[in-house]
């Protein structure tokens, strides 16, 4: 068949096999976390949390989430619910909020090791010690949600199509 357009797919870094992919760098490792439930909530966040995830803590930039479920704050009217498995939330507006299941919309990359702070300092100019209500930051040029699940383990939620790029960035620094 005659080629009428350049195949831009070949331009991008190939996506690794996420089920086994792992970066073992100097004092850090990275893997993709699979199987968690994610749902974007807009609107009245208090009402949404009370109905969908009562008692789930709110996680802000660089704060430490103990275990799912929790709500990662994105903006004034937006949060991302993270649950141990897919969340049964009916789509559409009700009681002042809308919840949209989006389990695969964000890839979750987990970075672990003593080099974590160094990696974060390379990826973003945000002052993680100052704290910020929103976990959304520009990291290596793309918007991610950044928080921790332990003192030296952080998670990045990035829009799934950008995961291969971010993976290559994390691999490239090792």
């Amino acid at each position: 068949m005659r080629k009428t357009m350049r195949d831009r797919g070949l331009f991008w870094s190939p996506a690794p096999d996420w089920t086994t992919a792992r970066i073992d760098g100097d004092a850090y490792s990275v893997r993709r976390v699979l199987g968690l439930g994610q749902a974007l909530v807009s609107g009245d966040l208090d009402a949404a949390l009370a109905e969908l995830m009562p008692a789930a803590p709110e996680i802000s930039l660089w704060s430490v989430a103990a275990a799912e479920p929790f709500a990662v704050r994105i903006g004034r009217d937006r949060t991302l619910l993270v649950s141990p498995g897919p969340l049964a939330a009916a789509p559409g507006w009700r009681n002042g909020y809308v919840a949209t299941p989006c389990d695969d919309a964000y890839a979750i990359l987990e970075i672990s090791g003593v080099a974590l702070r160094e990696i974060v300092a390379e990826g973003t100019s945000v002052d993680i010690n100052a704290g910020s209500r929103s976990a959304a930051v520009l990291f290596a040029g793309v918007t991610v949600l950044l928080y921790r699940i332990g003192p030296e383990t952080a998670r990045l939620h990035v829009e799934a199509p950008l995961a291969a790029y971010l993976w290559a960035w994390l691999e490239g620094r090792s």
Binding site: G75, R76, D77, S125, S132, S134, L138, T143
Partner: protein, 88 residues
């Protein structure tokens, strides 16, 4: 690198922000009676002052639109204000 202050997030790097518009513009209405000239003026003409200015900016990562007061010569930011109506 300059830090801008988002009313929701606090201080963040300037690269996370996008300029939206000069503040204080009023959209001409009703739409059906607005001339092409008036509409073009609204869309494309700015005062572009030298010195103190008030602008609407977007903190792109969190999605907050807000009012920023800054100086176009010194680049000093003198204030960031939420565009929200006060909570009822």
């Amino acid at each position: 690198m300059q830090l801008f202050s988002c009313p929701f997030c606090g201080e963040r790097d300037e690269t996370e922000f996008t300029f939206c518009a000069e503040a204080g513009k009023t959209r001409p209405e009703p739409a059906a009676e607005v001339s092409a000239d008036a509409w073009a003026r609204y869309l494309h003409f700015d005062h572009n002052p030298k010195g103190a200015t008030r602008e609407v900016w977007l903190h792109a990562t969190c999605g907050e639109f807000f009012l920023m007061e800054r100086d176009t010569v010194s680049h000093a930011v003198s204030g960031s204000h939420s565009l929200r109506r006060p909570e009822a």
